[in-house]
Amino acid sequence: MAVIAFSTLQSPARRVLSVKTFLPLLAPSIVLTLFFAVPMGMMIGISFQSLDGGAPTLASYSRFVKDGLVLAGLGRTVVMSGLVAVCVTVLAYPLAYYLARSTSRWRTVVLALAIAPELAGVVLRTYGWLIILDDRGFINSALMWVGVIFEPLPLSKNLFGVVVGLTHVILPFGVLSLLTSLQGISPNLERSAQILGASRLAVIRHIVLPLSVPGIISSLLVGFTMAASAYATPALLGGAGFKVMATMVYEQVLFYLDWPFAAVMANVLLILMVGVAFIGSRLESRLNQKLHL
């Protein structure tokens, strides 16, 4: 969620703020400091601890860069998050476009349906996908019963299952970030293009897509960071067959009791996400300027 705040902070007009304006922010600032900054600082501290209680050490960091299994997990996290970001954005785009343009009364229904899954909780939805994608799940049983396949298809405990589950979980956030951007494009621009002879497809290609690039970037960002930090879905749909950073951190803490190493992994994950978010939002504001929006 840090990303959303990140990109909305990019307001073009920078106003000079007085002390008075900051006063209402005092309480949230204290809460954030207590529950966000303090644990973060502790995490950084823990990552330098040595397991036998000795002097601060870089041991966990050097172990991280040498540990092939962990690095593979990092790679899987990046690939998975990238795929989820793309899938979310591709699926969310037509939905957001419909929501931005439609004046029909179904609009509210579609919007509700798009957002409603968020209310059901991640674990519940992920179990839903497990029921569908599992080796003995709906798809595999149905196909085997019909006789199309004899061995279950590998639909879960792998990249595919996790990407499907996460895409579903994160889709509403993609829709919301694209919706803001698409709603900012005046329908008269599309009408202008149309009356100048552009087909529906040409309007999308020459007008809507280029003007919504900032929205696309913000949807990709939300998709990437939310996927990279997700735990429940990779844990349930990936399991032991598909470990990502989040599930590996959990393992280190609960099974191996190696808190310093877990802290190192968490910090690396955090740096990855902040880095991607930073580059992405810089790109977004550069584009916004270039598009003269």
């Binding site: 621009l189 009408r191 202008s192 293009a193 100048l196 002879g197 598009l291």
Partner: protein, 365 residues
Amino acid sequence: MSTIDIELHSVSKKFGANRIVKNVNLAIPKGKFVSILGPSGCGKTTTLNMIAGFESPTSGEIRIRGTDQTGIPPEARKIGLVFQNYALFPHMTVAENVGFGLKMQGRSREEVAAGAKRALKSVRLEGFENRYPKELSGGQQQRVAVARAIAPSPSVLLLDEPLSNLDLKLREAMRVELKEIQQDLGMTFVYVTHDQEEAMAMSDRIIVMQGGAVAQEGAPADIYGRPRTSFVADFIGKSNILPISAVADAKTGNGSWRVLLGTAGMPIMAARMPGLVPDKARFCCIRPEAVRLADAAGALDEPANLLTGTIQKVVNLGAYLEAWLLVDGEITLKSMIRSSRLDKLAVGHRVELAIAHAAVQLLEE
């Protein structure tokens, strides 16, 4: 080839239960500057949107160059459109904006560039090709919007209040320019506005709309000089609209009608209105400039009503004075009188007035 570019036959448009456009019949002649004039919300944009193909009529038929447009999408109608807020593509340069229509026609890069250059030349905006819309003034954006619409050489250009975002000075200059562009290109312009001065200044024909229906249609002088309803008389220019109690069809030598004004029934002679049933007339309209001082300087060489009025108020408008005159104890007439006659117009004075018979117009409703 027909000389009518656009025809509307009994076109109506409903949004839900609201009838926004009511049974509109129009014929827009080729090469003419035609204005659709009416107050805000009377259905002008909706009518234009139906011609452009963004909305389809609930009933009725629209023909462009003789062809029924039912089911033909906007991109296939080959007409130009200029929006009130210009709707320039913010991510394209001026040249790309103006060349867009030609590019969509699949023209070569050179043809697109040449066409854009030509269109920019006709709106007098050369040398701005590489600017982005945000880097232009309102007036320049307006020109780009017009250039973009005319670049693919459509036979008809629709303009929806294109000048209303400009300040008064620029608006007046652009009126002249738009008219010149239209005449240079010989293109049919359908110009939507709620500004009656604008419509009067530019149009060959004016279509006055009221509540989704056509109230009156005709040449500007026609509409101004012979309004048919009190709505048109009131909307176009300034006017005195006075209730009449009866029309006595007393034919005098010149064929005027005798009308009784107000409740007191002051008799006055009015112009004969062909096609108007005298009994249906409820009001009459007298333009302020037709109310003159009846002395040597204001003498009329046509049959005129002679009245006496008391000056109640005088407003100096520079070249003209607006005088409010109380006639017959109950009727207030506004009059426009040249400022040189200020000495005649002291408040409280009684003055003799002359109003030509032909200047008293009976109104249907």
